[in-house]
């Protein structure tokens, strides 16, 4: 871990320079992609998509768009904490949960409270911030890894509390209180009603969510440009130098964690109001992974990037639901990845072999191939690990081809058959691949790390 990477940064600079030398179309494309997407560049297509969804979308499309908005708000909050302030917060979803449950308790039949929105929403945000501070204060003294583990544990604790606080013993009253509904969650949550208007249709909801998204984007991008944002980045780059320059490290960290928590709490409250219900399953690891994948795709620290990532991650799993579309996505995406990675033979193989296997698989769906598929799934990582060990070109090509066949086989027999499991599996793989291949995101700039 602590290998000094002398010359590392020179390498990065050279890389930038070399890319700039490429005058062909590919170089131009890379150059364009490398520029972090400006708010306008990202905002216009997103706004267009939203407008199209509002005008022509059915309820399903509107729902997906709404999910994208919630993801977007959450991802922006997370990218402030992780990308700007450089704090590895793996308990972020807990703040979302605290906001959602706080709002649910204040505005549902669970406790018989129906607090008006102008009270319930700030209370939910406040509760999330309080949770952030609760964790932030002890976490301040910990560095990267330890902070990550402690926050991850905290996230688990919040899920546990949501699961177990359905029989809270009240010794003084001699009764038990059902606070969170346990695994059954809280149902019948009031929609936010302001000035007598409450969103009634999915279209209304999308408007509310998109407006929230815009407001958070505006606020967050101002903060990022403000001295506070600069100080956060300084903290991310070098906490010790930041402290020596007089930046109040503790306060900055607390501010970052609580800002992120406030945004997550807001998203949680809106989510609870939108769904009308909240369950502990809503707070599981997959949301955390989705958000991290989103901010990594967009480039750590970039707000527009977080929005792009959120939109992608809201839309892609939906495509996987449909086997035909999913197939196109997997093979198309795989081929594209191989092309981007300059593995032309692999890409060609995937295109040809994938189509062949897809046809074969659709012809022979009757046979029970579960066991063979499982074996292929287990063998896949082993073959992948063996790939770099093979040096001879033709052996290598053979093994690559075998890998692709194995992957397509595993996909067709097992993953396509169980999309509910395939989606999280692919999400995890995508996150790891993203970290390895483009840690700076699709649009982000190469960063240097001093180890």
């Amino acid at each position: 871990m602590n290998t000094p990477t002398i010359g590392h940064e020179e390498w990065a600079v050279e890389l930038e320079a070399r890319r700039d030398w490429r005058r062909d179309r590919w170089g131009w494309l890379q150059h364009q992609a490398r520029q972090a997407p400006s708010a306008a560049l990202v905002g216009l297509p997103l706004a267009l998509a939203l407008a199209l969804a509002l005008l022509f979308g059915n309820d399903y499309i509107l729902r997906v768009a709404g999910t994208a908005c919630i993801y977007g708000v959450l991802a922006m909050g997370l990218t402030l904490v992780v990308g700007q302030a450089g704090l590895l917060d793996l308990g972020y979803v807990a703040y979302f949960g605290v906001g959602a449950y706080a709002y649910a308790l204040l505005a549902s039949p669970q406790l018989g409270l129906h607090t008006p929105i102008w009270l319930a929403l700030p209370a939910a945000i406040g509760a999330a911030m309080a949770a952030g501070l609760l964790l932030g204060v002890p976490g301040l003294r910990l560095n990267d890894d330890y902070l990550g583990i402690v926050t991850l544990g905290f996230g688990q604790v919040i899920v546990l509390l949501a699961l177990k606080l359905d029989r809270l013993a009240l010794p003084w009253a001699g009764a038990t209180l059902d606070l969170t509904g346990g695994p059954n969650g809280i149902l019948g949550i009031d929609p936010p009603r302001l000035l007598g208007w409450a969103p009634a249709t999915q279209g209304h909801w999308l408007l509310v969510l998109a407006a929230t998204l815009l407001a958070v984007l505006a606020l967050a991008s101002r903060v990022v440009d403000a001295p506070l944002g600069q100080a956060w980045r300084a903290l991310r780059e070098d906490p010790l130098a930041a402290a020596a320059m007089g930046l109040p490290v503790t306060r900055l960290r607390l501010l970052a964690v609580s800002s992120g928590a406030a945004i997550a709490g807001l998203a949680g409250a809106l989510f609870a109001g939108w769904q009308g219900a909240i369950f502990p399953v809503n707070l599981d690891l997959s949301l955390l992974l989705t958000l991290y994948a989103a901010i990594l795709i967009g480039g750590l620290g970039s707000l527009p990037g977080a929005l792009v990532g959120a939109a992608l991650l809201a839309a892609l799993p939906e495509i996987l639901r449909d086997p035909a579309l999913g197939r196109a996505l997997v093979y198309g995406g795989g081929a594209l990845a191989l092309i981007l990675w300059r593995r032309w033979p692999g890409a060609a193989l995937l295109a040809a072999g994938g189509c062949g296997i897809a046809i074969a698989a659709s012809l022979a769906t009757q046979a029970d191939v579960t066991l063979a598929g499982n074996l292929a799934l287990v063998a896949l990582p082993i073959v992948l690990a063996a790939l770099p060990l093979v040096r001879r070109p033709w052996q290598r090509l053979g093994l690559q081809a075998f890998t692709l066949v194995l992957a397509t086989f595993a996909w067709e027999t097992r993953l396509a058959a169980e999309p509910g499991l395939a989606r999280p599996l692919l999400l995890g793989v995508a996150l790891i691949a993203m970290l390895i291949v483009r840690p700076h995101g699709l649009f982000g700039r190469q960063r240097v790390t001093v180890v």
Binding site: D145, K164, S286, L296, L425, L435
Partner: protein, 309 residues
């Protein structure tokens, strides 16, 4: 309260079993951290996979055991399969994820671990295609077996867990402190570049470390399956956190520390389950983690490192 206090000796005994398992998991953390300064947070999931491998072997052997195959052979097969499988898994994780991530972003390894955890959880679900699986431990060890000491009862399964855990710990410390590989391992932990320059095959030793730690986790998975007779795909999350807590408690990177931390944590959890409430035992463990990190981040046995300016 008085009633629960009378169960204290029994809870201590149960805690010892839990603690042995936590110690095995904690060792994996400590080994990898000691060599790479990396918190392999996917470790809990490796333990979960180990439990599932044990379950799979037991189901395969089910007819043979019923036909009279001795129980200890079945147990050996389970342990061997789990340790081999998890060792391989550990090597794969290191090769496919951690090695490429070693010199990238400083937050990358932990995020990668999160991705691994997620992939393993859902991969196991996909392969085993059921959420909870019961382990028929009585095929290996009759439930009645065991001995009693006053009011304390230790079942054979629990005794076996403690015994095997101690055996593995002893073997590991022999390996680390008495063999060539152990010396290479400690050398890399002290200074990877210097070790590499002096001809220690760093990559190979790192792989071996992952294999070792993961094999121990696999064994822990099998043992837990025998005691609690249930495996499920999310069992690694809490166990991973607890193993990590045990490692931190004892001083991460220290092998005797991992043992002591595991035992302490196991007993603390078991006693708090009895005295306070089973509902909140996980919360208590987490509280222990935070307090341990704040009060003595270097643990009971760890050395405090000076930050370099």
């Amino acid at each position: 309260m008085g009633d629960s206090l009378s169960h204290l000796p029994q809870q201590l005994a149960n805690g010892l079993t839990l603690g042995a398992v936590y110690a095995l998991i904690a060792l994996g953390y400590s080994l990898v951290y000691g060599v790479l300064r990396l918190l392999n947070f996917a470790h809990g999931e490796v333990y979960m996979v180990g439990a599932f491998i044990g379950y799979g072997v037991l189901s395969l052997l089910d007819p043979a055991l019923a036909a009279g195959l001795p129980g200890w052979l079945g147990l050996t097969a389970m342990l061997l399969a789990a340790m081999l499988g998890c060792g391989l898994l550990g090597a794969l994780i290191e090769r496919l994820v951690y090695r490429p991530l070693r010199h990238t972003h400083r937050l990358a390894p932990l995020l990668g671990a999160l991705g691994i955890a997620f992939v393993l959880q859902h991969g196991v679900l996909l392969l085993a295609s059921a959420r909870h699986r019961a382990i028929h431990a009585e095929l290996i060890l009759p439930a009645a077996l065991g001995f009693e000491l006053g009011s304390v009862r230790l079942s054979a399964a629990r005794l076996l867990v403690i015994g095997i855990a101690l055996l593995l710990l002893a073997a590991l410390s022999l390996l680390v402190y008495r063999t060539r590989m152990g010396r290479a391992l400690r050398a890399i932990g002290a200074d990877p570049e210097a070790a590499a320059m002096l001809g220690v095959p760093v990559e190979r030793v790192v792989s071996q470390t992952f294999v070792l730690g993961s094999a121990l986790a696999g064994a822990a998975g099998v043992l837990v399956g025998l005691v609690f007779t249930k495996v499920w795909h999310l069992m690694g999350v809490a166990a991973g956190l607890k193993g990590f807590t045990a490692a931190v408690l004892g001083g991460i990177g220290s092998l005797p520390g991992a043992l002591l931390g595991g035992l302490l944590l196991g007993i603390a959890e078991s006693v708090s389950t009895g005295v306070i409430s089973p509902t909140y035992s996980d919360l208590i463990v987490f509280g222990v983690l935070i307090v341990a990190l704040l009060v003595r981040p270097s643990g009971l046995f760890g050395k405090r490192a000076q930050p370099k300016v």
